[in-house]
């Protein structure tokens, strides 16, 4: 049993959290909780435990909520980082409907977090840095004035330096961009190749918003003629040329001369791609590619050869006279002598494409590209605090979201999260799981996998008949802003295998849409979306042909995700 200061406190907490009679009686529950909060004799471990328990408490009214927040305010100023972070998490979760309170709390926690980032203990520093990054996802300007604290020091371990560089990249704004870039520039020539490469990639990240200064720095770095620097710079150029078309000119001017310094697969691929796509602007592009073709027999990386094929073909389509000969030689080699099947297949494909005609080849290889800036905006959309508030002060930021996802998948259904109240306080080993939890274990895999079949067809009359015969299984209101773009919505829904039967044109009021989906057991989901002219809400009504709550819930969550993403992009 966690130690919580004294016997009375333990009794009170037990009463509040384990006794269903008290939990049913809101008033008694509330008074017990208030008594718990007012305890003064706890040490830092007890405080952290109490804050953890309080996460489960739902205040009944706004008044009560602010009452609790006022009582807990002193915990935010505690000297123990565990207590401060626990209190912050509690505030963020309790105040999820009040974003200004959340911002306030995050302002207050700035001091302790920064102190933890400069702590002597490396591990504490690392955990604090991960949380700083988490906060920066929602409030990018939060730490901008304290950028100096995130400068890397010579003696720090590698993993801390990497985190600091990421943080610097994310807190850049107009006032500190000059100093931050100078600092990163210093790191690019660091002795450790890994760290230098991370710094260069960070500059590439900043270049999406502050293009001119970053391009200048990257071009200077090319002048040093260092292999590990040049390869990463060229890769950064490739990313920038793709995402920021305005840099293409500067990139093309800086490229000539790099090919001597690149030896690794990634760098070569990036360089070849750039030469292929923007070869018209680089005067000696065919000659550089010719060099690669001369040495293709000794080229060890198949990925480079694939990239070379595509690039030479692209360049041929725009500068035929210079490239015809070498294209022929390359194709001959790839088809006749190449041992790697993937490369040979691609060579054959291009050959047959050319046989079909130049205009066909041009259509396939040089057709208009999708607009990459759309995805860029999506990536950079600020995530609301509520999306990560539950993960604050847990191990999730320490691992990073991507690694946590893989870990969670590996763990499977054997471990329940803290949502099941029994197991959180008294974990038991495998053989002692009580019966009801075992059933839940078996149920979870079923509900998790909702398989909507693609290419599901339903005629309009059939839809209408089914719609009129069923009753509404679930109705929900979703916040919305502005007009709807039917095409975007339709495509997004199609990605998750929800088909559109009918959709009003953009701008009509009221705006309606009818959707259908079918899962692999044959259960039909019919949905109506309604957007009233005056409302800022979209009304969703779902009808299900067979009454199954689990699958209905999964369908609702899929629908919510899609509509939420579309809504976020626009707003």
């Amino acid at each position: 049993m966690p130690y919580l200061g004294s016997e009375d406190v333990v009794k009170e907490l037990k009463k509040a959290l384990c006794n269903p009679h008290i939990q049913a009686d809101r008033l008694r529950y509330r008074s017990v909780i208030q008594r718990v909060i007012r305890m003064s004799k706890l040490d830092q471990w007890g405080q952290a435990e109490v804050l953890n328990f309080l996460l489960r408490y739902q205040p009944r009214s706004e008044e009560e909520l602010f009452d609790i927040l006022n009582l807990l305010d002193s915990f935010l100023k505690s000297s123990s980082p565990g207590v401060v972070m626990g209190a912050t998490k509690l505030f963020l979760i309790l105040a999820k409907k009040f974003p200004h309170v959340q911002t306030d709390v995050l302002m207050q926690v700035k001091g302790p977090l920064l102190a933890a980032c400069s702590s002597e203990s490396r591990e504490l520093c690392f955990a604090a840095l991960c949380h700083v990054r988490q906060i920066l996802h929602s409030l990018p300007g939060h730490f901008s004035s304290h950028y100096k604290k995130f400068f890397c020091s010579y003696s720090e371990p590698h993993y801390i330096k990497l985190q600091k560089v990421e943080v610097l990249c994310e807190l850049v704004n107009d006032e500190n961009v000059q100093q931050v870039l100078e600092e990163l520039r210093g790191y690019c020539t660091d002795v450790s190749a890994d760290f230098a490469q991370a710094a260069i990639l960070a500059i590439g990240g900043i270049a999406r918003t502050y293009t001119d200064q970053c391009m200048q720095i990257l071009t200077e770095l090319l002048g040093l003629r260092q292999e590990h620097i040049t390869t990463v710079v060229v890769q950064t150029f490739r990313d920038l040329a793709w995402l920021c078309p305005q840099c293409t000119e500067a990139v093309c001017q800086a490229l000539p001369g790099c090919e001597e310094n690149i030896q690794d697969s990634e760098g070569k691929q990036a360089l070849i791609w750039l030469l292929g796509v923007h070869g018209t602007r680089i005067p000696n592009a065919p000659y550089v590619l010719e060099d690669f073709i001369e040495n293709v027999k000794s080229e060890t990386f198949p990925a480079v050869k694939m990239e070379l094929l595509t690039a030479v073909l692209r360049l041929f389509l725009s500068r035929p006279a210079e490239c015809q000969d070498m294209l022929g030689r390359l194709l001959h080699y790839c088809i006749e002598e190449e041992k790697d099947m993937a490369v040979r297949d691609r060579g054959l494909f291009y050959y047959r494409l050319l046989l079909a005609g130049i205009s066909e080849a041009k259509q396939i290889l040089c057709s208009p590209k999708s607009d990459p800036s759309l995805r860029l905006l999506e990536d950079q959309a600020e995530r609301p605090v509520n999306s990560w508030a539950l993960d604050f002060n847990t191990l999730v930021p320490v691992y990073g979201k991507a690694r946590w996802a893989t870990i969670a998948k590996c763990q499977g259904v054997e471990h329940h999260g803290p949502e099941l109240p029994n197991t959180a306080a008294f974990p038991t080993s495998g053989s002692l799981i009580p019966e009801e939890n075992k059933e839940r274990v078996q149920e979870l895999p079923d509900s998790g996998a909702l398989m909507l079949i693609p290419n599901h067809q339903l005629t309009a009359e059939c839809f209408e008949k089914t719609w009129l015969s069923l009753k509404v299984a679930h109705q929900q209101v979703f916040p919305w802003q502005g007009a709807v773009h039917p095409d975007t919505l339709q495509m997004a829904l199609q990605v998750v295998n929800i088909q559109t039967i009918a959709m009003s044109r953009a701008g009509t009021q009221p705006w309606k849409a009818y959707l259908t989906a079918q899962d692999d057991t044959g259960c039909l989901f019919l949905t109506e979306l309604l957007l009233e002219p005056a409302n800022l809400q979209m009304q969703i009504s779902v009808k299900q042909s067979e009454a199954r709550t689990e699958t209905l819930k999964s369908f609702i969550s899929v629908l919510e995700t899609v509509i939420g993403t579309i809504g976020d992009i626009k707003s």
Binding site: M1, Y3, D43, Q44, W45, A48, N52, S78, S79, S80, P81, G82, M85, G86, G111, A115, A116, S118, E120, S121, R122, E123, L124, F126, A127, A128, K148, K149, F151, S153, Y154, S155, E156, H158, Y159, I160, L162, Q163, G186, T189, D190, V191, D194, G223, L224, R225, Q226, N393, T394, L395, V398, Y399, I407, C410, H415, P418, A424, P427, S429, G430
Partner: protein, 452 residues
Amino acid sequence: MISQFFILSSKGDPLIYKDFRGDSGGRDVAELFYRKLTGLPGDESPVGMHHDDRHFIHIRHSGLYLVATTSENISPFSLLALLSRLGTLLGDYCGSPGEATISRNVALVYELLDEALDYGYVQPPSTEGVRNFIQAEAVVSKPFSLFDLSSVGLFGAETQQSKVAPSSAASRQVLSSRSDQSQKNEVFLDVVERLSVLIASNGSLLKVDVQGEIRLKSFLPSGSEMRIGFSEEFCVGKSELRGYGPGIRVDEVAFHSSVFLDEFESHRILRLQPPQGELTVMRYQLSDDLPSPLPFRLFPSVQWDRGSGRLQVYLKLRCDLPPKSQALNVRLHLPLPRGVVSLSQELSSPEQKAELGEGAFRWDLPRVQGGSQLSGLFQMDVPGLPGPPGQGPSASAPLGLGPASLSFELPRHTCSGLQVSFLRLTFRPCGKANPHKWVRHLSHSDAYVIRI
């Protein structure tokens, strides 16, 4: 909470292993951890690792690995604080924590762990409170000798003629055997500051940061009350103004939860009843506005002849401390470009040393007096070094001539100017002879980097 806790030496040998939950599934968890730690790819952090539905969190404490495993998603801050607390607890009971002391006191350590963690949950781990439950006695390596003046550790005063205080108080355990009640009544108060500085290649100051801690190690019986006083002009925050001069200023202060602050606002006095053992009374932090000049300035000049591959570095180090102060154990570490063949040196004073090793050279100066200037001329042969293109000798630094980092100690000096005015014991339960009070101020460098 915690499933297992174990301590490994720096080479991975398990010293202590305690299983609280019994859910290790028969695997050798310690071995697993060490293998995973050594096999970790470069960009993943070793602080939190995951294997087989178990999280491993560890800290490095005096060369040992203190590792805790858990299968729940708990707060990393609490867990790290717990591990440091366990480290300090072991230190309090066994003397200086290290591989040797832990292996000598295995039984004591297990008893301590039993008391500190119950089934994986944290129990009140105050050094004093746990004492009553501990049966084993610590085995000390050897009684400390007054001639053992190896290094100036924490919690000790330097040796002066009149006061001979053992500087190995840091390694003495706080709670010696019960029978020895005539333990010395002593209390040590250390004001320790860490200085981080970053100076650009053109000499401008990019960043300066001072992190300070006031640490108390008390051998007094608990129940004694003491007061620590600062000068009345001690200001907190940028806008506060007390007294008539610029005063002593820090940006932020944080106190231990057991300190009473009722007299802090008015008279800058802290009142506390410390338990036996170590305690960090106050933490403070100051950036960007130091009252005194920086202790060291470096003036490098580099001559590099690309044709012949000769690199000449002339370093002039100026110490800006007041003339009566000095800096100890000053070491300048300068990474060199790859392929340095030889090093010849001319140093301005005989007691300095310079050595080449591991891609860098170290210049050791055991003692630097305030206000003095020291110089060294270093010549190296670096054949075939790439760098910015250009013919003939150039004054720009070649690639790989890294930033110079200085490490030093400044005894009796605080960079922020904070001084403890007095340390008074206002209440003593046993009323014995006056206890000894040692107050020490010390600054040392955390990361003092000067770019070339």
